[in-house]
């Protein structure tokens, strides 16, 4: 068993701090609504999603270093991307990725873990949002504010999934 690297821990900590910053900026926006504040929330959310994606990518690079470097033909090794492999659509798409194929052969236990957290599984839909938002951050993240009808409020607690999509408002 390997210890979680300090760079991964640092990114996770930064992610938690940035979540608090987003919340503070949301409160500031509610005190004094402005387009600038909404942009600031978007920018800070961008930091959060990037902070949270990095540990996944760092972990994958460690896997490549430990298990695949020097063990694959140079041509196959060059085709590997050092990013966390994911598919938002299907297992077939996920299994098609070169890194996934090599991991399945050499480390079936890690393959199983990677497969089990793919965003095409309902419980991990958030991971697809995370990866997508991290890519979208390069352009712009648009934030909206919505009032909650008190009748819908109980749903927030009861069904975590109801927070997604537009059923909440």
């Amino acid at each position: 068993m390997k210890t979680v690297s300090t760079s991964v821990q640092a990114k996770l900590e930064e992610g938690r701090e940035n979540i608090e910053r987003v919340i503070v900026t949301c409160v500031e926006h509610l005190q004094l609504p402005s387009a600038h504040n909404l942009q600031k929330i978007g920018a800070r959310l961008g930091n959060v999603v990037n902070n949270l994606c990095s540990p996944l990518n760092y972990s994958i690079r460690e896997l490549i270093e430990a298990e695949l470097r020097g063990k694959l033909p140079p041509r196959d090794y060059k085709r590997l991307k050092g990013d966390f492999p994911y598919s938002r659509t299907s297992k077939a798409d996920f299994d098609h990725l070169p890194l996934v194929q090599h991991t399945a052969i050499r480390r079936p236990d890690i393959y199983q873990l990677l497969e089990s957290v793919q965003p095409y599984h309902t419980d991990y839909k958030w991971l697809g949002y995370l990866m997508g938002l991290s890519n979208q951050d390069k352009h712009e993240l648009t934030i909206e504010v919505a009032d909650i009808n008190p009748n819908d409020f109980a749903l927030l607690n009861k069904f975590s999934a109801s927070i997604f999509g537009n059923r909440v408002i």
Partner: protein, 66 residues
């Protein structure tokens, strides 16, 4: 009578109420922030907290195998 951990907290609005992952305001009631992503609107705070906990779990499981 009070119970441990159940004492009321008084805060000025607007403020963030963590158990509900929503913001309490004086004029607008409860408020949520939503992120536009493709054709979906994602609850901002719920998403951030879910993703934060989820990533920690994945990374921890991953390193246990590595």
């Amino acid at each position: 009578m009070s119970y441990e951990g159940s004492e009321p907290t008084i805060a000025s609005t607007p403020c963030f109420v963590r158990p509900y992952q929503a913001f309490a305001t004086e004029n607008r009631g409860w408020v949520l922030f939503l992120v536009n992503f493709e054709d979906e609107r994602i609850g901002l705070v719920k998403f951030m907290e879910l993703a934060n906990a989820g990533i920690q779990k994945i990374v921890s499981d991953f390193y246990q195998l590595l």
